[in-house]
């Protein structure tokens, strides 16, 4: 079968089991997204954008089974005062969640607002996703817009006193969840959103973020520890003048994770930081795909990604900085590094720059290698046992990414957790 034909067949097979939600304003956005999806088709292993990650298990109609990982650990972000919102296998759980009212923010469920004729989310739902489809197609995001079964519309109007914490619980071993959140941060407003949990056996999440001039949004995410889960997530952000977006993701498990971030700096002096740390062991494939577009003057973007891999784990980084014509005084920085703890692991990277303005300072760096023997030797000569020394160096390596989190308490908490995990593993 020719490639095009194979793609159509695979896409239609996937669509067969999905139901388009009818009625309300979102139905137009959904059918547009479906049309977009049909035009591009779901990814194929020979697609350039999926060169390093096989999309088959994300495309196939039946959900690959993933057993629920049991652990007695203190839940992540546990000690923090936060507004808890729980989703079980991708469905909002009102009982387990806190009351959604909080000063400075309004939070509604996608299903609850579908009938409202006038709603701010109407201008964003599927809109930022559609913008992010060019120049590279992101079919899973279009699929998400079309078939999302749940999600939150979060409107940040002030400075809420505590973070909004989205907790994704995984209950069934064949759950296939599609969540779509839309976040709008008003001018001068600022909020922190936390996300954690494995979510489902197979999880497709899309987040559309619009930060108005001078708005600020912090995202801190810890992807669940279930060994067998699969996830494809998208973040589409549009940043206004002097606005800030800082996103950090920690991934420590899962058989397949593809995190895409598509950020557009449309207002002058905007700042976008996207960072990630991952620790992969064994049958672990983790892909960070980032696309940052500078379309305004004097903006800053920063990408910091660190991966520690062992026992055949694979880490992928595809990062791109696009500086459009006229986006002068751009400061673009990108670093992707991997630490390979043994011989079977691999790191595949494509750090890209595409620049059409001359007064810019853009750089990217990428390194890969084993633990620094000299550093190890130094620690051992100071009486630190080899395992502990390795862990210490690994932690130091990851900490550089974790420190991208502005809130020091959150960063501290994640580092402590990483330390425990590393200690337990070896």
């Amino acid at each position: 079968m020719a490639l095009a034909e194979r793609r159509i067949t695979a896409t239609e097979a996937r669509l067969e089991g999905l139901q388009l939600v009818k009625g309300g304003w979102s139905s137009a956005a959904r059918s547009d997204a479906l049309q977009r999806l049909r035009q591009m088709g779901l990814p194929e292993r020979r697609d350039e954008y999926w060169k390093f990650t096989r999309p088959d298990t994300l495309v196939q109609p039946e959900t690959p089974k993933a057993s629920v990982f049991d652990n007695d650990e203190r839940p992540i972000f546990d000690g923090f005062d936060r507004l808890r919102i729980v989703f079980v296998d991708g469905v909002f759980d009102a009982e387990a969640s806190d009351d959604l009212s909080l000063e400075g923010v309004s939070i509604e469920r996608l299903a609850d607002i579908a009938d409202k004729d006038i709603h701010w989310a109407k201008d964003l739902y599927g809109v930022l996703e559609a913008r992010g489809q060019s120049p590279v197609a992101r079919p899973f995001a279009a699929l998400n817009t079309a078939f999302a079964t749940d999600g939150l519309m979060i409107h940040v109007t002030g400075k809420p006193s505590k973070p909004i914490s989205l907790i994704y619980t995984h209950a069934k071993d064949d759950s296939d969840a599609i969540l779509h959140h839309v976040i709008r941060v008003d001018a001068g407003a600022e909020a922190t959103i936390l996300e954690n949990g494995p979510a489902a056996a197979r999880f497709n999440k899309c987040m559309e973020i619009d930060v108005a001039d001078t708005g600020k949004l912090h995202l801190v995410r810890a992807q669940g520890r279930d060994h067998e889960r699969r996830a494809v997530t998208h973040l589409f952000a549009r940043l206004g003048e002097e606005s800030t977006l800082k996103a950090f993701t920690l991934t420590v498990n899962g058989v397949l994770t593809r995190n895409e971030a598509v950020v557009e700096l449309t207002g002058d002096d905007a700042i976008a930081h996207i960072a990630g740390a991952c620790v992969g062991d064994g049958d672990f494939h983790h892909d960070d795909t980032v696309f940052i577009t500078h379309d305004a003057v004097n903006c800053e973007s920063r990408q910091v990604f660190k991966k520690v891999l062992r026992n055949g784990a694979t880490g992928v980084f595809q990062g791109k900085i696009l500086v459009k014509e006229g986006a002068q005084k751009t400061d673009g920085y990108q670093i992707s590094q991997s630490l390979l703890l043994d011989d079977d692991s691999q790191f595949l990277a494509k750090p890209e720059l595409e620049i059409y303005a001359d007064d810019v300072a853009c750089s990217h760096g990428s390194t890969s290698g084993a633990i620094d023997e000299d550093a190890l030797f130094y620690l051992r000569s100071r009486g630190v046992p080899e395992k502990a020394a390795t862990n210490l160096l690994t932690l130091a390596f990851l900490a550089e990414a974790v420190q991208e989190i502005e809130d020091e308490a959150l960063a501290e908490d994640l580092i402590e957790r990483l330390e425990n995990w590393l200690a337990r593993r070896s």
Partner: protein, 507 residues
């Protein structure tokens, strides 16, 4: 540089110097064409044309078959579209695949029999084939220090090799340096063994096309333990209109040998774009070393992007033996479109690959170039230094791959890609692929993009330089890591080219 015309000659500067500077300061200076009677094969590509090319070159049956097989493969291939270049669709049936000066119908036995018009062409390009030949007859290699080092030249005019100098002297050392068509006839065993062994017939669209229709090119064989006594050089000239040039170069450095090879190219200025699809294969055996330097100065098209050469080139070196070493150095200033990735397969343990590149794109030029370093052997090392300069409306892309295979223990790579932008209408892009499949391998990649530094410009201007001169100086400084890797004669030419190529890019 235009300012030079008005400059009063200062005391102590002789007129020759001024003329020489004016000469190199001109716009594309190789844009003239030689009016010479040509013999063409009919336009278009068919099995008959392939047979005809083979016949014209007096090739044995196996070669004809090899070509025809390549032709069949080519029909099934798709033109690659992943590079960041944009050009109108090429009608491959609207090209001449074979053109040779009529006077070359009967192969001249020595350069004395070569059409004086052809020799004049090369003379004008600064490659005096004949003089060098005479010089060679008069005096020995050691006695020509005033002229600098001697360089043996193979000159290719459209589809055929016009002449190769110093053949006799090279033969004494055991080095074979001749046109590939001659090699196919004279050294069929070597050609059979190595041709297509580094770049397989079906490697990519353009390489397959080249395999079917290549008309000439150079062949080098350096026997074991021999250090080639002089630099070898090929000079390619496209002259005829609507003619594609498809040359094929095969270099074999046997165990423990050394050779340095230079390549230069030019073409007349024409409105219609012309096609150039070359293949270069290098085999480096145990302990051997090959240096391959290119100054590519094909006609880049005019300042509105009209005409120019489409340069689609496949170059690859295979370090087969342990401790083999290959070094690619390229200065890419010409061509309307460049699609070129000189690569190294580091198969032997401890083998080394190096890639130094300067790519300059001005006006509407588009360059998509870089390298592949495939590390297969233990302790293999590679180093990539790429300097891309964009000006005018040009697009310049570095595209590369560093691949560390599981067995490439302790392999090392260092990559440095820098881009410089001159003007706000051009683009500079970096697309590196990094694949690390074992943990003892260490890979480092760095890339930066910046503009010409204001402080440096101010300094140069305050010393009385005009803006263009200042930019040329700053750019030369930016490129110095690569310029230093070039053989001396080339480094000079390259430095001048850097200045010329950027002409008109400021102000």
């Amino acid at each position: 540089m235009a300012a030079l015309d008005q400059t009063q000659v200062k005391e102590g500067v002789d007129q020759d110097t001024v003329d020489a500077v004016r000469e190199v300061g001109g716009a594309y200076k190789h844009g003239w064409n030689t009016d010479i009677e040509m013999e063409y094969a009919p336009k278009g590509l068919t099995p008959d044309i392939v047979r005809l090319i083979s016949e014209k070159n007096d090739e044995p049956e196996w070669m004809t078959e090899w070509r025809l097989e390549a032709y069949e493969r080519w029909l099934t291939k798709k033109e690659p579209d992943w590079a960041m270049v944009d050009y109108p669709e090429i009608d491959f049936q609207d090209q001449y695949y074979y053109a040779r000066p009529k006077s070359m119908e009967v192969k001249p036995k020595s350069l004395d029999e070569v059409d004086p018009k052809l020799l004049a062409t090369y003379e004008k390009l600064g490659i005096p084939l004949k003089e060098q030949m005479i010089l060679a007859g008069v005096e020995g290699a050691e006695e020509a220090p005033a002229e600098g080092r001697k360089v043996a030249v193979d000159a290719v005019f459209d589809s055929v090799s016009v002449g190769t100098t110093f053949q006799a002297e090279l033969k004494k050392a055991g080095v074979i340096f001749c046109s590939i068509s001659e090699a196919i006839r004279e050294y069929p065993d070597l050609v059979k063994k190595y041709l297509g062994s580094v770049v397989p017939v079906s490697d990519n669209f353009y390489a397959t096309l080249n395999s079917a229709v290549f008309s000439d090119g150079s062949f080098v064989y350096v026997p074991p333990g021999v250090r080639c006594p002089m630099e070898l050089s090929t000079y390619f000239r496209i002259n005829a209109e609507n003619t594609g040039q498809f040359e094929r170069t095969l270099i074999i450095a046997d165990k423990g040998s050394y050779v340095s090879y230079l390549e230069g190219c030019t073409a007349p200025a024409r409105d219609i774009a012309q096609l150039h699809a070359a293949v270069v294969e290098i085999i480096v055996e145990e302990d051997a070393e090959v240096k391959y330097s290119t100054v590519q100065n094909w006609y880049p098209g005019d300042e509105n992007g009209k005409g120019g050469i489409y340069n689609f080139v496949t170059k690859r070196a295979d370090c087969r033996g342990d401790r083999a070493k290959v070094m690619w150095t390229q200065v890419e200033t010409g061509s309307a479109v460049t699609w070129k990735y000189p690569s190294c397969i580091l198969r032997g343990d401890d083998s080394q690959g190096e890639f130094y590149s300067i790519a300059i794109a001005n006006n509407y030029q588009q360059a998509d170039t870089g390298t592949k370093m495939i590390h297969l052997g233990k302790n293999t090392k590679s180093r990539i230094v790429s300097k891309g300069i964009s000006a005018g409306h040009a697009q310049n892309t570095y595209r590369g791959l560093v691949s560390m295979h599981p067995k490439a223990k302790n392999a090392r790579n260092y990559t440095q890609c820098d881009s410089l932008l001159i003007g706000d209408k051009c683009g500079a892009h970096t697309v590196p692929y990094i694949e690390v499949k074992n943990n003892s391998a260490r890979v480092e990649h760095e890339a930066t993009t910046s503009k010409v530094d204001d402080d440096q410009m101010f300094y140069c201007r305050s010393r009385g330089m005009d803006e263009e001169e200042a930019v040329a100086l700053v750019v030369n400084g930016f490129c110095k890591d690569v310029l230093q890797a070039l053989p001396m004669e080339f480094a000079m030419e390259a430095q001048q080219l850097v200045a010329i190529s950027l002409e008109g890019s400021v102000g």
